[in-house]
């Protein structure tokens, strides 16, 4: 568990150096980036609101990563999940129906899984690299969303803005308190974390998938089928991302627009790694990553710094995490010269 902590500290150090070179007081900036956003109830609500999709998606992705199934396209699966859920929310005949929200939940999960099923089928049956297919499908999902909100699903009463009509109240999660945006969808994430823990730590199937990832030859010898690891890995990630998309559209967004995610799908990959692909680590990783998003927004608003800093920090954090592993798995020692 030491590596994530070391990586976080080193990221902060590099962050302060970066701020100092840009001519900002590092302490003031770090305070504005990492502490000020959590100083209010609203800040805490936003923190959990953003951590929730990150943790949810990372749990799904980690199931695949454990088996060496590289789903890099959670962003696309999130978008398709959001589209499917919003479609149900907009076009279900009775907008007040109490089953609307559960239906949207199913639609989101199915949408994400359908988008992930394409690379799963291609990898399992056609031997096609899933990294590239999941990524290409992310670009396609973005274009699909853009087409829908500019074309057939555009709100006729929306002054020509590229967005859908707002969802009805029954199609949205109710916030705990109308002053803040945090809503009941965080419980979905809590359940997902528990399920992920059950699957990876307590189920034979989860064990088989870990073996497939760690020792493919041993897994084949034991008769574990690689194709089932591929299917489960990708569908778990797709379902989680799709549900996260649903929770976004039925939560803080309330409608579709051309950009519905600040990159949760990509950031969740990092969260999965920071969390060491295990459920409780992912919770901590998600909280940290969410803080990076909040901090980026905060320094953009208050200090006029670019929100692109968030992605820089994400990259640096992952760099340090990977490097820190080296010092944990290998011990350095001095070798006498040509003894």
């Amino acid at each position: 568990m030491a590596a994530p902590v070391i990586a976080t500290v080193l990221t902060l150090v590099v962050g302060s150096l970066l701020f100092a070179t840009l001519g900002y007081d590092p302490l003031v900036t770090l305070q504005a980036f990492f502490i000020a956003p959590l100083n209010s109830l609203n800040g805490l609500s936003e923190w959990l609101l953003k951590a929730s999709p990150l943790i949810l998606i990372a749990c799904g992705l980690a199931v695949g990563f454990r088996a060496n199934v590289w789903n890099i396209g959670a962003e696309g699966q999130l978008i398709v999940g959001a589209i499917a859920a919003c479609g149900v929310g907009l076009f279900y005949p009775n907008p007040e129906s109490p089953i609307l929200l559960p239906l949207m939940f199913l639609a989101g999960a199915c949408g994400g899984m359908a988008w992930a099923a394409i690379p799963a089928f291609l990898r399992a049956r056609m031997n096609t690299n899933e990294i590239l297919v999941t990524l290409m499908l992310t670009y396609i999902a973005t274009l699909l969303l853009s087409w829908l909100v500019h074309g057939p699903w555009r709100d006729p009463a929306g002054f020509n803005y590229p967005q859908t009509a707002l969802l009805s109240a029954a199609a949205m999660f109710e916030p705990f308190d109308y002053a803040y945006r945090l809503n009941a969808s965080v419980f979905i994430t809590v359940v997902a974390v528990f399920l992920m823990w059950l699957f990876t730590d307590r189920s034979f199937l989860g064990y088989k998938m870990s073996v497939s990832g760690a020792a493919p030859l041993a897994a084949r010898y034991a008769g574990f089928r690689e194709s089932s690891a591929v299917w489960i890995g990708l569908l778990a990630g797709g379902a989680a991302a799709g549900v996260a998309g649903m929770a976004e559209v039925a939560g803080p967004l309330g409608q579709l627009s051309p950009q519905i995610s600040p990159g949760y799908g990509f950031a969740a990959i990092i969260v999965a790694f920071i969390g060491r692909l295990n459920a409780f680590g992912i919770v901590l990783g998600g909280l940290l990553m969410s803080l990076l998003f909040l901090g980026g927004e905060a320094v953009q608003m208050n200090l006029g710094l670019s929100a692109a800093l968030t992605r820089i920090f994400q990259g640096i954090l992952l760099f340090f995490l990977l490097a820190a592993d080296f010092f944990i798995f290998y011990r350095l020692r001095r070798i006498p010269e040509h003894a």
Binding site: V133, A308, G315, L322, F326
Partner: protein
């Protein structure tokens, strides 16, 4: 005829960044290293080159700045993957995310004004030949440089001892190490070369292809370059042909949008991504062909025994 010439030249130009990036990645992968971070290195290269142009530096310097930016970024990956023996998928992804952040951060003050694009050459006499002249002899110098790089890399990989050593390392680093070749050092050089080429690709995008700063202007071209290497089954000539195929796809969909074909523009924009998937599926069918030229140690960390 004019339309044909426009499509032909457009294809060659659109293929140029793909040729740079994919040929660079080919060399990296031939040494047994998988750098998924092309998209990030291209974006950094694009930002560096654009920055240099705005700062008033001459065009060749700007392009070199882009290449060096890409190389510097690749070094980050190299340290992680080669010295710290990390998972190369994860290190490459980190580079892709980091690069897009750095690029957007550098570009925050670039404004939206276009710059003077890299000038096209008119090769004397040849460019005056009807049809052939405009088709082949009126490109900017980088287009020709990309073709030159294709010949240089093909020659290096298959006709020089250095290329043989590089390919040996990609097949079996243990063997190369046992013979006495500095595996890690040579892999570093390959990674740096890949970074230079990705930086050139990015520079070409920002100072020649669309001489205008747009955040994330690569729009997946780095990832498509990765797919091209697989599509090419790790052979240079096929990288070139693949790049032209994708360049053609890009231009056809742009022409389609310009002609106002009754299809949503998003569908046309999605064509290059769809084509990438289709092409990957077709190529993956032929496992024998893939295995034949696939560098056997690809993406496997290597630590020389002491």
């Amino acid at each position: 005829m004019d339309l044909f010439i426009a499509i032909f030249t457009g294809t060659i130009i659109a293929a140029t960044p793909l040729i740079f990036a994919a040929l660079g990645e080919l060399v990296v992968e031939k040494s047994g290293v998988l750098n998924l971070g092309i998209e990030g290195m291209m974006l950094i290269g694009a930002a560096f080159a654009f920055w240099a142009v705005i700062a008033g530096l001459p065009m060749p310097v700007a392009i070199i700045a882009g290449a060096l930016g890409g190389a510097a970024a690749s070094l980050l990956f190299g340290v992680l993957a080669l010295t710290f023996l990390t998972n190369q998928y994860a290190a490459g992804l980190a580079l892709a995310i980091f690069g897009s952040g750095v690029s957007a951060f550098l570009g925050r003050n670039f404004g939206s004004a276009p710059i003077d694009a890299l000038d096209r050459m008119s090769i004397p006499f040849l460019s005056d030949i009807p049809v052939v002249g405009p088709m082949f002899f009126r490109f900017d110098p980088m287009v020709y440089f990309a073709i030159v790089m294709f010949f240089v890399i093909s020659w290096f990989l298959y006709r020089t001892k250095g290329g043989l050593i590089l390919r040996t390392i990609g097949e079996s680093p243990e063997t190369a190490h046992a013979i006495g070749y500095p595996v890690i050092r040579i892999r570093y050089l390959a990674v740096l070369f890949g970074g230079l080429m990705a930086g050139l690709a990015g520079a070409y995008l920002s100072v020649a292809y669309t001489p205008l700063w747009v955040e994330n202007m690569t729009a997946g071209k780095g990832w498509i370059s990765l797919a091209l290497v697989v599509f090419a089954t790790w052979r240079p000539l096929r990288v070139l042909l693949g790049a032209w195929l994708f360049g053609g796809m890009t231009i056809l969909q742009l022409q389609g949008q310009a002609l106002g074909i009754a299809v949503p523009s998003e569908l046309l924009s999605a064509l290059p991504y769809l084509a990438t998937i289709v092409v990957l599926v077709i190529i993956s069918q032929n496992r024998q062909m893939l295995a034949l030229h696939f560098p056997a140690s690809l993406a496997k960390p290597f630590r020389p025994a002491t």
